[in-house]
Symmetry: C2
Subunit: 132 residues, 2 copies
DNA sequence: TTGTAAATGTTATATTATTACATAGTGTTA
DNA sequence: TAACACTATGTAATAATATAACATTTACAA
């Protein structure tokens, strides 16, 4: 059974915005968009983002400093994430590939380090951009 | 044959600093450290960093906004990078594992997107921190 | 109902990165 | 050599991203 997270007011406003967006959103663009809803300060946005990331409802695209809603309901609380990023149009998709996630979750090298989390970002040209 | 890149004065100063550092360095920490060598402005640092990343001499650790020297001479110009990051002591190492890099370089999913580059960051506790 | 954790509100500030513009060096070729 | 293109440098200003510190309020379980 998944733990149920009842989002708070600010968290819900911000999650809904990200969830509806076809593209990753940046923190200050989120701030701009929610000011009409009474969220006025960067910290209010960042706190909601932190929480949403923590509970796995959204992910941060590190190379872009931007946030997208989790497109993979079975995503294990942001512990194992993979994305594809088009370097031309900046379209980002979450990759959910069982083989890939198994391979990476079980990955171990000679360092003796046990990995509990990973984030993978693939880059290239999406179908549309490739055919231009 | 690898293309030879003769580093410019600023590039060399900044590469040497990063290369000698046991830990990833942040841009403004680099700036602070090279001011005695006549590099005074953020842009001078960022320009050198951009170039060094481009030619594969250093890599950016995206989740940390920090830079490390390439520890893998055969690294294909920053097109395929993997790192291990200790979430306790923040030690970062570049992973060079042929199987892993082959697996990821050949990865393809149903999206029809051809990936030309990837960056992978593993997180966990290093040996030292685990045994504490 | 009282204690505790989570969330909010607000101001200020820290950190990371880029724009714009002027100048200087490096190497190639006419 | 002169002309050219390209890369690198210097400097100032500013944009974009993120956190610290502090006061207050809300949710909710013991
Ligand atoms: Zn997900
Ligand atoms: Zn595209
Ligand atoms: Zn490398
Ligand atoms: Zn450690």
């Amino acid at each position: 059974m998944e733990k149920q997270h009842n989002l708070s007011k600010n968290q819900k406003i911000i999650f809904d915005l990200i969830d509806k967006s076809p593209e990753p959103l940046k923190a200050y663009s989120i701030l701009f968009n929610v000011q009409k809803k009474g969220i006025n300060a960067p910290l209010q946005v960042y706190r909601a983002l932190d929480k949403l990331v923590e509970i796995g409802k959204i992910h941060k695209i590190e190379s872009r400093n931007a946030f997208i809603a989790c497109q993979n309901s079975s995503c294990q609380i942001s512990k194992a994430t993979a994305f594809s990023i088009c370097e031309s149009c900046e379209k980002v998709s979450e990759i959910s590939n069982t083989k890939l996630s198994k391979y990476l979750s079980n990955f171990a090298d000679e360092s003796g380090m046990k990995y509990t989390k990973y984030n993978l970002e693939f880059f290239g040209l999406c179908k549309k951009c490739k055919s231009k």
